[in-house]
Amino acid sequence: MSQDPIPAVTGFDPVVAGRYAECDGGGMVPGTGLASREEFAGTLTGDYVDHGDPPWRWYLLADLVRSPEGYPGAAVWCESGSLFVMDRPEERP
């Protein structure tokens, strides 16, 4: 296996910056071999990182209005395929 780091390219996407989004997130629970599901909602900053080739894109979701109880951060990185960009709850019909 290559010990080289996977290339990570950062960027900014003005199209999604400032948009409300929900993230059906989650990940590995350390030490258990099991996955966890967790939900977030907030505002996309527009910042992204592409990991590897083909690019695996992650967006930064900030100003969180929904996060798992006890979640330690004020922002979260979300995988693009698990992000759902939508109108803010107060703007929906």
Binding site: D24, G26, G27, G31, T32, A35, W56, W77, S80, F84
Partner: protein, 367 residues
């Protein structure tokens, strides 16, 4: 009955005999199930890329050209980075004291070795990406994304002749992944072991089947008998995903203590608890889960803090093989795991039970 009800489009897609998927962390189980006519998926989230490559070669040497799958937990979200020291410092004193009181009450020894928590385990995007790249290099017949969307890798996988399964907990995730081109959708219900979605198997499977078109839908969560298999097909699924069923199989490398606990357990012996990881997680009851459920217990912390608190207990229980402390993730179907059977026998029993259901329903011979 003219058509074998167990021969579904999922069987045609993979060229297999039975629409049964075994999810396991033990490659001996994979080989046994595949050679018995089913399909099996090896969970490799906790393995290094080199280990994954070796496991793929090992399975190929046992099953030949028959298809099998490799599962990774592609993360779908990741907290902004923090050091372990900083995280440990964030655990409130009240919670530390409570965890210590449990260890004292149950005479929990110190762990013998390094805690698994601190070992390799698909903890971030870079590690998961390296794991995924080796699966592409080795051209595993099937890649299963156990959590996040595999959309970004579908084209590269298809170019290598691989198939992609996506495991989802919500219908909108299924829709997104089907549109991206996954070959199979696994709809996982709340009955499942470990960390599940919030929707029950009986609700999510027909909901996803209604939007899946020609993409086979596999039912996951609480499936441990042929009756469950028959019911899943009636709900519109093309097969079942089973996990708990194999934990006590003869080929499983699980500790014998855990196998005995699983065989003795009823569905009421599982608990949906946040005490292990900070996320709701279905596991067998144990002193740790029971103590955190007491009214005087502090509220469980979020992840990763709760996992940092529980890791000593888990590691010590396993290192010292303390039957009174050990536990395992298990789905609600655990009540039907009643003997330590060979994997081939488990497959045969599922098939026979399911065919019997269809015969009883139709009054005709099935299969």
């Amino acid at each position: 009955m003219a058509k074998n009800p167990l021969h579904t489009k999922f069987c045609d897609l993979l060229g297999i005999e039975y629409p049964i998927i075994a999810f396991t962390h033990c490659k001996d189980v994979v080989a046994a199930v595949v050679n018995a006519g089913g399909f099996a998926v090896l969970g490799e989230a906790m393995h290094t890329p080199d280990e994954i490559a070796a496991d793929i070669k090992w399975i190929r040497s046992r099953v030949g050209q028959k298809p099998f799958g490799i599962d990774l937990v592609l993360p779908a979200s990741a907290p902004t980075a923090d050091t372990l020291e900083k995280l440990l410092a964030g655990i409130p004193e009240e919670h530390r004291r409570f965890a210590e009181s449990i260890k004292k009450k149950y005479d929990v020894p110190e762990p013998k070795g390094q805690q698994a928590l601190h070992q390799w385990g698909g903890l971030n995007q870079e590690i998961a990406r390296k794991q995924l790249d080796v699966i592409l290099e080795e051209r595993a017949p099937v890649f299963v994304s156990g959590l996040g969307s595999p959309a970004f890798i579908i084209k590269a996988a298809h170019e290598r002749g691989m198939k992609i399964f996506g495991l989802i907990g919500k219908t909108r995730q299924a829709k997104r992944e089907i549109e991206a081109g996954v070959d199979v959708i696994v709809a996982q219900g709340y009955d499942a072991a470990g960390h599940t979605g919030p929707i029950g198997t009986f609700s999510i499977v027909p909901e996803v089947a209604a939007i899946a078109g020609d993409v086979p839908v596999i039912a996951a969560g609480g499936v441990t008998t042929g009756q469950h298999l028959a019911a899943a097909l009636c709900l519109g699924a093309s097969g079942v995903w089973t996990g708990t069923l194999w934990l006590a199989s003869r080929e499983s490398d699980n500790d014998m203590i855990i196998k005995e606990k699983l065989i003795a357990a009823t569905s009421d012996d599982t608990v949906y608890s946040k005490s292990v990881s900070g996320f709701p997680m279905r596991v067998l009851r144990c002193p740790w889960t029971e103590e955190w459920a007491r009214p005087e217990a502090p509220r469980t912390l979020g992840s990763p803090y709760q996992m940092l608190l529980s890791s000593d207990y888990i590691q010590a229980a396993n290192d010292h093989r303390r039957a009174d402390l050990m536990f395992e993730a298990a789905g609600q179907g655990v009540a039907f795991v009643t003997a330590m059977k060979p994997a081939r026998q488990i497959v045969a029993d599922l098939v026979e039970e399911a065919l019997s259901v269809f015969e009883n329903l139709t009054g005709e011979s099935a299969g």
